[in-house]
């Protein structure tokens, strides 16, 4: 987005909006990780006692770590390639 088209008051307005969205984006990402790692790691519902608790916890833990590193890397590339592709030099 080209922010030079906006005046100060508008930029302030947009910044407030983006700050508010940040939290809902965080919540959404949080639920996405839970959803993804639950679905990839937890497939045994035969016992109430989470018999393989350690195993599944370890899977969830690794899944979470990997997801965050994945999203972080996508974010870097998105910023680089996106800037190059969409904005380009003016």
């Amino acid at each position: 987005m080209d922010f030079t088209q906006f005046n100060d008051a508008e930029r302030k307005h947009l910044q407030r909006m983006m700050e508010q969205k940040q939290m809902s984006d965080f919540f959404k990402m949080y639920n996405t990780i839970v959803d993804r790692c639950f679905n990839d790691c937890i497939n045994d519902f035969t016992s109430k006692a989470i018999s393989s608790k350690e195993a599944s916890e370890s899977c969830v833990s690794k899944c979470m770590d990997k997801f965050m590193k994945h999203a972080e890397r996508v974010n870097q590339r998105y910023a680089e390639v996106g800037a190059e592709m969409m904005g380009g030099p003016k």
Binding site: S24, K28, Y30, F38, I42, S47, I50
Partner: protein, 89 residues
């Protein structure tokens, strides 16, 4: 700017807190919908022989919800550990 007076009660409504509460509520609704969807996928076979939940399905759902919320808890704990300011889940 993000405060206004409520005429009936003379109490201020903090609009920023209201927005945060709304987002938190939306997060719980989203979480609930994801559990419904994931546990349906895991516990309910796509051949619909009867409209009722049978014993096996019911038990599966109970465990599925519990395990989903456990994953939610460990992810939350880890996020808080990392960021120092995750959601209070």
């Amino acid at each position: 700017m993000s405060f206004f007076m409520n005429s009936s009660a003379n109490q201020t409504v903090n609009m920023q807190n209201m927005a945060m509460a709304e987002q938190e509520l939306d997060m719980f609704t989203d979480l609930f919908n994801r559990i419904v969807s994931s546990c349906h996928e895991k516990c309910i076979p796509k051949t619909y022989i009867e409209g009722d939940l049978n014993k096996g399905e019911a038990v599966c759902i109970d465990r599925c919800v519990a395990k989903f919320l456990e994953v939610n808890k460990s992810v939350g704990a880890k996020l808080q550990q990392i960021s120092g300011a995750g959601p209070n889940a």
